[in-house]
């Protein structure tokens, strides 16, 4: 049979002598004044810290003030919406990627150069001679209408905004000038969320469509052509608590 030896416990600080020395030192050093720990609201602070950490990867999108052509902005300053609650902070402001405006910008450039081409090759077009003052006025009216075309397209892009707050998703639609609506859903009503990013242009400029299915009155929230769709998805997921089904 093997014997089991149990070694005697030794004090890490050494022998009894060392302990006596320590107690003597302790007696000489005056005790520190007791500092009461600061009473904070630990869960709220930790939650906020957690949230900030989750968005750290997007911190390079955070700048002081939102730009006129900005389509992705983290913690935008001086932005508010109609039914914003107290202590409701906007985390993300999203618009369609600016590349999606390419079509009307290209068309505008063509329309600007069209009269120049017309005047240079006037002989090719059978136009009856009209006084110069009519030409000048028509020219000015033409460019004012182009200005209006640019303006309307720009405001359509500018006001089609999606907001993500720590409580809700807000989708503002502004279509065809005479129609606009605002849909809001609470984060706890979100049932399913997914994004698609298909095609060369979308992959190259890194934008895609986010589809949110809710249990609210409006069943679908579509954030179309938003930049960084994977990050947006992560932000929404983090805000939801990461427990939902994310495809």
């Amino acid at each position: 049979m093997t014997d089991i030896f149990v070694a005697e416990r030794e004090n890490k600080l050494g022998g009894k002598k060392d302990q006596d020395n320590l107690t003597s030192v302790k007696k000489q050093v005056p005790p520190f004044p007791e500092i009461e720990p600061k009473k904070e609201n630990p869960p709220a602070r930790e939650e906020e810290k957690k949230q900030r950490f989750a968005h750290e990867e997007l911190i390079h999108f955070k700048s002081k003030e939102i730009g006129l052509f900005s389509s992705f902005h983290l913690y935008p300053i001086n932005v508010s919406f109609k039914e914003q609650e107290e202590n409701e902070e906007i985390i993300l402001l999203l618009r369609k990627h600016f590349v999606t405006n390419f079509y009307w910008i290209f068309l505008t450039v063509v329309l600007i150069f069209l009269p120049i081409i017309f005047f240079l090759n006037r002989s090719l077009f059978p136009v009856p001679p009209i006084p110069d003052k009519f030409n000048v006025m028509a020219f000015l009216l033409y460019f004012t209408i182009i200005g209006a075309y640019v303006y309307i397209n720009f405001i359509t892009w500018f006001f089609n905004t999606s907001l993500i707050t720590q409580k809700r998703l807000v989708d503002v639609h502004f279509v065809d000038i005479i129609y606009h609506d605002m849909a809001v859903t609470r984060l706890n009503l979100i049932e399913d969320i997914s994004f698609t990013q298909s095609g060369f242009i979308k992959s190259f400029f890194n934008y895609g469509d986010i589809y949110v299915q809710t249990a609210g009155e409006k069943l679908h929230f579509d954030f179309l052509a938003v930049p960084e769709p994977d990050h947006v998805l992560n932000v929404i997921e983090n805000l939801m608590g990461g427990e939902k089904n994310v495809q």
Binding site: E65, F134, I145, F154, I155, F159, F174, I178
Partner: protein, 74 residues
């Protein structure tokens, strides 16, 4: 008796009227757009909305001055 009304069938006069009507319709359209922009600015307040509204007002003023100029010189 109707000699004084001959200008009504003048093609340039008709062209002038046509341009004035076009500019007038454009002004009304821009007014509607500006009302909508103001409404949207209330719905969602952004720091650069003021610039957007200013550009809209400039366009409206340009159209109004075009209308008056057409009325005078054409």
């Amino acid at each position: 008796m109707y000699n004084n009304l001959q200008f009504l069938i003048n093609p340039f006069f008709l062209l002038k009227i046509l341009m004035l009507i076009m500019i007038f319709v454009f002004i009304i359209f821009m007014l509607i757009v500006l009302v909508q922009v103001r409404s949207m600015a209330r719905t969602i307040n952004q720091p650069r909305t003021a610039i957007v509204v200013t550009v809209g007002i400039i366009l409206l003023l340009a159209a109004a001055s075009l209308f008056l100029t057409s009325l005078v010189i054409l």
